[in-house]
């Protein structure tokens, strides 16, 4: 072993304290001026990251969201921030041999998750109609299909939503850490930290992220009052949103809304770490694939063929 110097020491002496204080005041003044012109409160702007909230701060923030909901919709809401359970990793299965393309899931999701209804219309699930002749091929996919009855002859249907990747390109793309992957696998967004740059949208290979180009249009009577801070709480203009596996339901043990509404039972959901769960049974006995496997996003959303 050659001779080694002592361990590195942190930086030099701090800058002149009075200069530093001046800079701080000046910066704060400029920020207040800028913020007051765009309707953002100072407190919200200076708030820490969700992951660093103390229990007190979290309570305060949740109460504030509820208060704002009441102001905006005139309706009482409950906003939770239930965390991931230990020993749970969510997995989602979608049976392509069953799906008939009826779009019931799309509208159950809309009713549950409080997205904007019209201009912009935001739907987290997109059902693609594809030709049986071509198989899973985006060049022959159409999600604007209209029909009197489904499934149409010669077609099959592939609903696409957030794949909750284990290696999420959107999270890597976000410059403000406004989106991250939780322990149970759900990729979440803090709408208060999203700056609306839409880098995540261009990074996502599944088109699963949607942008509020204008103030969301959500009638008060359609507001789902059961909300999660990282999920279906009403969004402001200029932020990105996406499927969260119905975090407000699944963190409480319930199935996502799309699973419960599916009339053909094509949607399966459960804990990948529980060997007796439905999703594990699917993984072990069916032909399973992930969408765009070649991109190494490692989704927690699996497509399968039960027959």
């Amino acid at each position: 072993m050659s001779e080694r110097k002592s361990l590195p020491v942190v930086a030099d002496a701090p800058a002149d304290p009075s200069r530093r204080a001046f800079m701080r005041t000046a910066a704060a003044g400029a920020a207040v001026a800028a913020l007051s012109s765009c309707g953002v409160e100072m407190e919200d702007f200076l708030r820490g990251h969700f992951k660093e909230f103390s229990p007190d701060e979290l309570r305060h923030v949740l109460a504030k969201v509820e208060r704002k909901n009441l102001e905006r919709f005139g309706k009482k809401t409950t906003v939770s921030a239930t965390g991931p359970r230990p020993g749970v990793e969510f997995g989602y299965g979608l049976d392509l041999s069953r799906c008939v393309g009826c779009r019931r899931c799309v509208y159950a999701c809309v009713a549950e998750n409080n997205p904007s209804r019209q201009s912009p219309q935001i739907q987290w699930i997109r059902v693609m109609e594809m030709d049986k002749e071509h198989g899973v091929d985006l060049a022959h996919a159409n999600h604007y299909y209209e029909a009197d009855a489904v499934p149409r002859p010669g077609k099959f249907y592939m609903p696409v939503q957030c794949q909750q990747c284990r290696n999420p390109p959107c999270v890597k793309a976000c410059p403000t850490q406004a989106t991250w992957k939780e322990k149970d696998g759900i990729v979440v967004i803090d709408y208060d930290w999203c700056i609306g740059c839409r880098c995540c949208m261009s990074a996502c290979p599944y088109g699963a992220r949607h942008f509020n180009w204008a103030t969301p249009t959500l009638p008060a009577d359609e507001l789902n009052p059961h909300q999660h801070y990282l999920g279906n709480r009403p969004r402001p203009k200029g932020v990105v949103e996406k499927c969260t596996f119905c975090i407000q339901r699944t963190r409480e043990g319930r199935y996502p809304a799309c699973v419960e509404v599916c009339p053909v039972g094509a949607r399966k959901f459960g804990n990948l770490l529980d060997p007796e769960s439905e999703i594990r049974r699917v993984m072990e006995t069916k032909r399973v694939f992930v969408f765009k496997e070649e991109l190494a996003t490692h989704p927690q959303f699996y497509y399968f063929y039960a027959t």
Partner: protein, 238 residues
Amino acid sequence: MRLDTHALTILAIVAAALASPPPAHAAGGNPAASPAGPTKSTKSEPSPEPANGAKARETAEGPRTPPLIQAEPPPFSEGIFPCSGCHVDPGDRTRRELTFHEDIQKVFDHDSNARWCLDCHDAQNRDVLKLASGETVPFTESYRLCGQCHGDKYRDWRAGVHGKRVGQWDGQKTYFLCVNCHNPHTPGFKGVKEIEVDGKKTTAPTLEMLRPEPRPLRPEEMRRPVAPKASTTAAGGR
């Protein structure tokens, strides 16, 4: 010697780092996780258990509340049940065209070349179904009858892979019967509708296929009218 001092310094630093309070990153993440605790004890039952299966399970793991609830079966056609209202005695057991039950005969498409009514319906007691073994089962357990031929579907259904379940992914869930989605007389899946039986929501098969919900709007259909934009700029806008 020098090496040892270095090792000691590093050790001391590591120890200090471990002793210092951990960052509060978990605080916001799961405030409700600790009181709720792991709910592993109520893990999901793998399958709807016919009576015998349930017993086997109880002896293995001790009794517990069954987390699976059976959905209400779809109702019979009006005024048709109990069948014994008309069928008082076994009657003619030869395969033939019936002069009654036209609504069923009209749609009957369930291996219709080889099978007829009394292959599933019990001739002695018309209010129950009959397995190939001769054992009878009530209409509410018709899945046992279906499972005789459709073993692969039956096994998948018991595991929750075929068909739908609603409720808790980690606990109590409601499962649907074969006949909630498949008309036993013409079982190829066409569509289902939501119905209410005894105030409980359930489903019933239909003879029509499902109509899809409206397609999403195309981007060009979502544009807001241009006129208001001009007025906002006139008013100073932001």
